[in-house]
Symmetry: C2
Subunit: 225 residues, 2 copies
DNA sequence: GTCACGAAAGTGACTAGATCACTTGATGAC
DNA sequence: GTCATCAAGTGATCTAGTCACTTTCGTGAC
């Protein structure tokens, strides 16, 4: 049960731990590949695989002939992977509450007929339980962002929702009022359809607020599990 | 001149090209490691390093014993690395225009005295030309996002500005009216200081709009360099 | 004393050829 | 028809190196 994950994955995590424990900051040098290989009792190619993975998000940087150094992505990782307490979930909802109303308003202004079809599709998909299908059913809120016609907006929101995806499941577990969820989504869609930006914004805001309320009440009133 | 970059980096790019050229979509299988190694005339550990790098952003996924598959991150990469034309810069500005006014408003509501000091620091740093110092001077707009007290908001905006960082330099090159930039930042800061959310939002909006205008005029009027 | 040069040590980059572990699909017994 | 079995394909990792680059530090010229 310790780990179904690969040796390389664990290794990457352990290297991050090493950076944390050592109090290293961006710019500081890590141990050499060979030293790391010895420390973790693996071979250098394996260490390098783990480091490459970390390099991709700039957690570490290679400098040929010089050494391996902590990169700026390290601190970013610390923020992103912060312990998944209630704070981080509330932080996520707060962020969405800040950004999504504007996005919904813009969607109401810019949406095309095709966007509307996609939104309707996302809405019906949400009701049918996930099939064995690979496609994880386009998230309604991402579909709204896509309806702005700006791919970067959609991408940003998707990245945001992808974060803390585990906690998002928790939210759904609590906020299990599917009918209400669907009804609110439908209202938002209607506002976008008729191009009422203000109403789309307000509805999105109150929708997220109600989710937040459930969350806060739940954490205050309910015990574990 | 062909490439100062490492073999692994080039290899990662070439594998992505291979996915693109092959018309592969998320879920499709890649060639085996051995086949890739043969194709590119490198050894398997090298291929694996390149693949690990791509795995970090979910461009590919490993399935032990089964194969290597294209992941959801592939399409994301396509969006992020789309050819850096004017469209993508305008898209970025449009996104910022959509998100940052709300953030500035929230900052005006939530900022602490410490946040104000940080903002002032970011403002003066922007005027002094970059020193040899490693720290790349906290971006004013990121500092505003941080003043919301929500780390996730700051992180999101930072990620956004980090994208297309090359093009951002272009923008600065055109929008070289440092004094005006600084003056507008100062106005925004003042609104945040006194807690005027509406004004902070409006000022941010007009600030970004003026940047966009310069950009659009520049692209229409000016030739290359 | 100062500074250019250059060898040596340390480090990452990559090679070469294996072995082990897991998945998958075909085969064959029941 | 169903299910256990097995073999081929693939990823995961190892062993044991060589090559290329950077940094350092000592040497010697000035």
């Amino acid at each position: 049960m310790t780990a179904q994950t690969s040796l390389t994955s664990r290794l990457a995590d352990e290297i991050v731990d090493l950076i944390v424990d050592g109090g290293l900051r961006p710019g500081d040098a890590l141990e050499s590949s060979r030293a790391l290989a010895q420390r973790f009792e693996v071979t250098t190619p394996t260490v390098r695989e783990a480091l490459r993975r970390l390099e991709a998000t700039d957690v570490v940087q290679f400098r040929h002939g010089s050494g391996t150094y902590v990169g700026a992505g390290f601190e970013r990782r610390m923020v992103v992977n912060q312990h998944a307490g209630r704070d981080s979930i509330e932080e996520l909802i707060a962020t969405r509450l800040l950004l999504e109303p504007s996005i919904a308003a813009e969607a109401a202004r810019c949406r095309t007929d095709v966007d509307l079809e996609v939104l309707e599709g996302a809405l019906t998909n949400a009701l049918t339980p996930q099939r064995g299908d690979e496609r994880p059913a386009l998230h309604f809120h991402v579909a709204v962002a896509a309806a702005t016609g700006n791919r970067l907006v959609a991408e940003t929101l998707e990245a945001l929702l992808h974060l803390r995806s585990r906690e998002q499941v928790q939210i759904r577990h609590r906020y299990d009022d599917r009918e209400r969820d669907h009804a609110e989504h439908e209202q938002i869609l209607e506002a976008i359809r008729v191009g009422d930006a203000d109403r789309a914004s307000e509805l999105t805001s109150s929708h997220l607020q109600s989710i937040r309320d459930v969350l806060v009440d739940g954490s205050a009133g309910k015990g574990a599990k």
